[in-house]
Subunit: 224 residues, 2 copies
DNA sequence: AACGAGCCGTACCGTACGTTACGGTTCGGT
DNA sequence: ACCGAACCGTAACGTACGGTACGGCTCGTT
């Protein structure tokens, strides 16, 4: 973004990632791989070598270094979006399972090497540049899970299983109970092994705590 | 830390910050100021200009860029350490006040421009270099507040006001309830104004939730 | 007054890296 | 078979910045 306003290359220079070609996806995978292995010292030369492509191609496809980083973040985000958790039946048990699944999934994501690396570069970017990398990561992380979880919470409320006034506040409580200090510790380099067993246990514990705070035993129809 | 094992300058090259001179403290303040204003693009030249000193002096005092950053982090940490919360009387009301104070203080710290800037550089460092900046920030942030809060929790348990098995787990729950998504959002550049009123309200709410999960109404002497 | 330590300001050096340019190769279209 | 587009590999350029050297100034000491 140092001297933009050039010929916008093919297409991924704008804010719309559209769909990268298979070859471009391979390049972006190389970026993600290098990001995890080498950390912040990601150079265009290293990307070109890892992806077996020329730097000229990188600049033609992605404009500049920021464009490449942005495309990589969006590429990773596009593959994280998945499970839509189709709710029909909604009883106390299935609600608990849904919440626990959400917490476990979130813990898995934020403790993955890819997520840690991407959050680090986005945070480093937010420190100096004006680029929207941080916003992109937020939109596909914190806010995306909020958008997916809030409907579940509201269905739970409609079914009389949960009680709260502010959906956003309830979600943020759940977010805090599930994540606690995990993300900041990992971002700061703390060794913190989270195996599947720990994640499942912590997710269940967070769900229990959330239900203690917001749960209602049985459907309570109508108003007060 | 790039090529240590030189003549260790005066003294702040090791792990012991000891006590910086007034002049050195002014330099470190300049670092913190620049870190907030300019973000990650902190250059030695800019520090020298801001502090009205020569680069030669910076290198004599702090060894290299990492040494300067480390000293700045520890300098900031040394001034954050304060309130020891001397507990003698401990009833339900004072426990609630203590917890709420802790939460409010923590929210104030992590939402301050200085903390955000320091956490960003520490995270960026944790990404590439092997430096212990991230560990220093963790020790003076997350772990420091844990060491100060855990005794309060255990006194509360001894007084029959709280019930938990694992002090660490109880603290992490409190940490999550208080912090929720605040820190990650701020680090990623999200606009999130936290005034004194919001902090006080959120701290009180987190305390209420924590007491709902872990509180016991009255002293319950002896075992079951 | 003379001296030396410490420090400021600045010029300078070496390197890393983003970005560009260019020659050579592959490959689909005609 | 020929052409042009796309792309690979690499050399080259410009700049930013960490680190060093040095001349001059200030100030405390004798």
């Amino acid at each position: 973004m140092t001297s933009a306003a050039k010929t916008p290359a093919s297409e991924p220079s704008g804010a719309d990632p559209a769909e990268p070609t298979a070859r471009q996806a391979a390049v972006l995978d190389a970026v993600l791989t290098l990001l995890q292995e080498k950390g912040g010292q990601l150079t265009m030369t290293a990307v070109a070598r890892q992806a077996s492509c020329s730097k000229e191609t990188l600049y033609k496809w992605f404009g500049d270094r920021d464009g490449l980083l942005t495309a990589a973040v969006q590429w990773q985000a596009s593959r994280v979006r998945a499970g839509s958790y189709d709710r029909q039946k909604l009883d106390a048990s299935s609600l608990r399972d849904s919440l626990s699944d959400f917490a476990a999934n979130w813990l898995s994501v934020i403790s993955s090497a890819t997520s840690i690396a991407l959050n680090r570069v986005a945070i480093a970017h937010a420190a100096s540049k004006q680029s929207n990398l941080g916003q992109i990561v937020l939109d596909n992380g914190r806010f995306a899970i909020g958008d997916r979880l809030k409907p579940v919470l509201e269905e739970g409320r409609a079914a009389g299983l949960l009680a709260f006034d502010d959906t956003e506040a309830a979600f943020r409580t759940f977010f805090g109970l599930a994540g606690r200090d995990v993300q900041i510790r990992l971002l700061l380099g703390d060794k913190l092994k989270l195996g599947k067993a720990e994640i499942a246990r912590d997710a269940a514990a967070a769900t229990d705590q959330f239900l203690t705070l917001y749960g209602r035993a049985a459907p309570a129809p109508a108003t007060a």
